[in-house]
């Protein structure tokens, strides 16, 4: 393991020590992070830790010899002065000349309302609720803003679909919980988790799918008889992409927005290589 700053050009090497930017603020070593504390003010040391990382981001082009050796032990706070951490060249993500950012189309999230529910009562009393026990064992409720649909089960668990951003998803889930609360059930808001995010993007050029399949056959599945798009499975991050002839790409299977962006950045140079000539 060579820790010379010259090797740090390769951004993957940054992952060998816990880079402060790749972890959510709640997961920094010294903080005892609960969900509620995520946005609360951190301790003095944590603030310093963040400042150090910001400094390191700003001084990217510096390639001189390090003034102090940064500590590479995982879990330790950054050393004395912020500037010393800056010497490790923190390479930005490979610049994709696409300028295209995938837009989110759908977010599926689940939340536990924490109490058993009487679906019949909910269906009778609530507006915009449908319940057909012979077809499906849950109440299907819809709200207009954000435009979402929720499946509410008798165990108290709920699935919320249709939101176009993470904030909308949690907002909508809270609105449904409020509805259930107003109906008289002791609803809580436990374990909200985003289960799936779907994004779409357009590369603006036609793609030679068959050639792509020949090259990357371990990752691709392209059967025009079955489906007109090529199904590309990226291993890290674990995302499935549907790539179409027209250049439109659908990305799904992500738990975070960053995974979608990462996956698209990975696939864009590959797709550029299989651009259709005319």
């Amino acid at each position: 393991m060579d820790f010379s700053p010259y090797n740090a050009l390769n951004s993957h090497q940054n992952d060998q020590y816990e880079s402060p930017m790749s972890l959510p603020p709640s997961a920094t070593p010294r903080s005892v992070a609960t969900r509620d504390d995520a946005h609360a003010t951190t301790t003095n040391e944590n603030r310093f830790y963040h400042r150090a990382s910001i400094a390191s981001k700003k001084s990217i082009p510096e390639m001189g010899p390090p003034s102090a050796v940064p500590s590479y032990h995982s879990g330790s706070i950054a050393p004395a002065t912020p500037l010393s951490v800056a010497t490790v060249a923190f390479t930005p993500r490979t610049v994709d000349a696409s300028g295209v950012q995938p837009s989110l189309q759908n977010i599926v999230s689940t939340v536990n309302l924490g109490c058993p529910l009487d679906l019949k009562r909910i269906a009778l009393q609530a507006r915009n609720a449908e319940y057909n026990p012979k077809r499906f064992a849950a109440v299907i409720m819809r709200i207009r803003s954000p435009r979402t649909t929720a499946l509410i089960f008798s165990s108290g668990k709920m699935v919320c679909t249709g939101a176009k951003s993470e904030e909308h998803s949690i907002q909508a889930a809270r609105r449904y919980a409020r509805v259930i609360q107003k109906l008289g059930f002791p609803a809580k808001f436990l374990d909200f988790k985003i289960q799936n995010m779907v994004g779409s993007a357009d590369v603006h050029f036609k793609i030679r799918l068959e050639a792509l399949q020949l090259r990357h056959d371990t990752y691709c599945s392209y059967e025009p008889e079955l489906f007109p798009g090529l199904i590309y499975r990226i291993i890290k991050p674990k995302i499935v992409l549907l790539i179409f002839n027209s250049g439109k790409v659908v990305l799904t299977g992500a738990k975070q927005r960053s995974e979608i962006d990462e996956a698209f950045d990975l696939i864009y140079p590959i797709l550029k290589g299989f651009r259709r000539a005319n």
Binding site: K206, R208, L209, E210, Q213, D217, T218, S221, E223, P224, E225, L226, F227, P228, G229, F244, N245, N278
Partner: protein
């Protein structure tokens, strides 16, 4: 190895030929009768003569080769049909019979699957090697348990589809649905994707080969200039793959439109309805693909002396 082998020769007659006597296992000089080498080992099969099995050419005690299609964990006992007096009881029936063959349940499941495959394959008279490939693939799926949850007919149909494709004579999924009653295209598609994912070392390099489809579908149409139309169609389809925007179309749709164009060019125009029946696609699909092809007709046509009969005059508009 030739260097280490001792070349036998008689001490007194080094040039004389040596005779091999199998009964005694000796090698004898033909001139003087000196035994030069002894204890020759006969590597042919057993010498024991089984009194009644006179029709067995190779009297081998070991038995036949393993059948890869079955698990070969079970050994069965079979009693042959007796001929002498002690073998027959007072009513003339055999005294000792082979009782019901006990196949293990795993083998029975495999046997069922193979029967289903053979029945389906018979409906379209598939080649023997394709059927055997399909059976082997079925066994692999069964062992790897990768198509759990799908019925036997679905897995059998998928195995036939895959082995047809691997054998260079692809059958469209719709055709496979035709020979497999009760299995829908969606089911075969899902089973196929599952097998592709889960079966280790399974990569289907062969994309659906259009040439084979063209010749088969043309055969169904009963054309007069069959060979010429096949040639023209093959050429058009290859060119169309490069220049036209028909890439994501199912192969049978492309073939349908290509044959339609080829027939029209040669002068033997067939109605789209016939094309639809022959390829198993909808008429509107063929029309759509044909519209795409007709945008670039001039580049698609083959050039050459044998294609002089082609003319763009008769091309229909739709």
């Amino acid at each position: 190895m030739t260097r280490n082998m001792q070349t036998l020769s008689c001490r007194f007659h080094p040039e004389s030929t040596l005779i091999e006597d199998w009964r005694a296992g000796d090698t004898i000089c033909s001139e003087c009768g000196l035994v030069v080498g002894d204890r020759t080992i006969d590597v042919s099969s057993e010498w024991r003569t089984f009194a009644n099995d006179t029709d067995a050419k190779d009297m081998c005690r070991v038995g036949g080769p393993d059948n890869f299609l079955f698990d070969n964990n079970t050994f069965d006992t079979m009693i042959a049909k007796g001929k002498g007096k002690p073998a027959v009881d007072e009513f003339g029936q055999q005294k000792y019979k082979t009782t019901s063959v006990q196949t293990s349940s795993g083998d029975r499941a495999l046997q069922d699957g193979y029967n289903i495959i053979r029945q389906m394959a018979n409906r379209i008279s598939l080649e023997n090697r394709i059927v055997k490939q399909a059976c082997l693939l079925y066994k692999k799926c069964h062992d790897a348990k990768c198509a759990r949850g799908y019925e036997k007919e679905a897995i059998a149909a998928t195995c036939i589809y895959i082995s047809c494709r691997q054998g260079g004579m692809p059958r469209t999924i719709k055709e496979i649905c035709g020979i497999a009653p009760g299995v829908s295209k969606v089911k075969i598609g899902r089973c196929f994707s599952k097998i592709k994912q889960e079966l280790p070392n399974f990569i289907l390099h062969e994309a659906v080969d259009v040439k084979n489809l063209i010749s088969r579908f043309c055969g169904r149409l009963e054309l007069k200039n069959h060979r010429l139309i096949v040639k023209v169609s093959t050429h058009i389809s290859e060119r169309a793959k490069e220049i036209c925007d028909i890439q994501s179309r199912a192969p049978e749709s492309v073939v349908g439109a290509v044959i339609y164009m080829a027939c029209a060019i040669i002068g033997e125009q067939k109605p789209i309805k016939d094309l639809g029946l022959a390829t198993g696609t909808a008429e509107s699909t063929i029309r759509q693909v044909y519209k795409e092809l007709s945008l670039k007709v001039s580049q698609l046509l083959p050039t050459g002396p044998e294609f002089s009969a082609c003319s763009l005059r008769n091309l229909p508009k739709c």
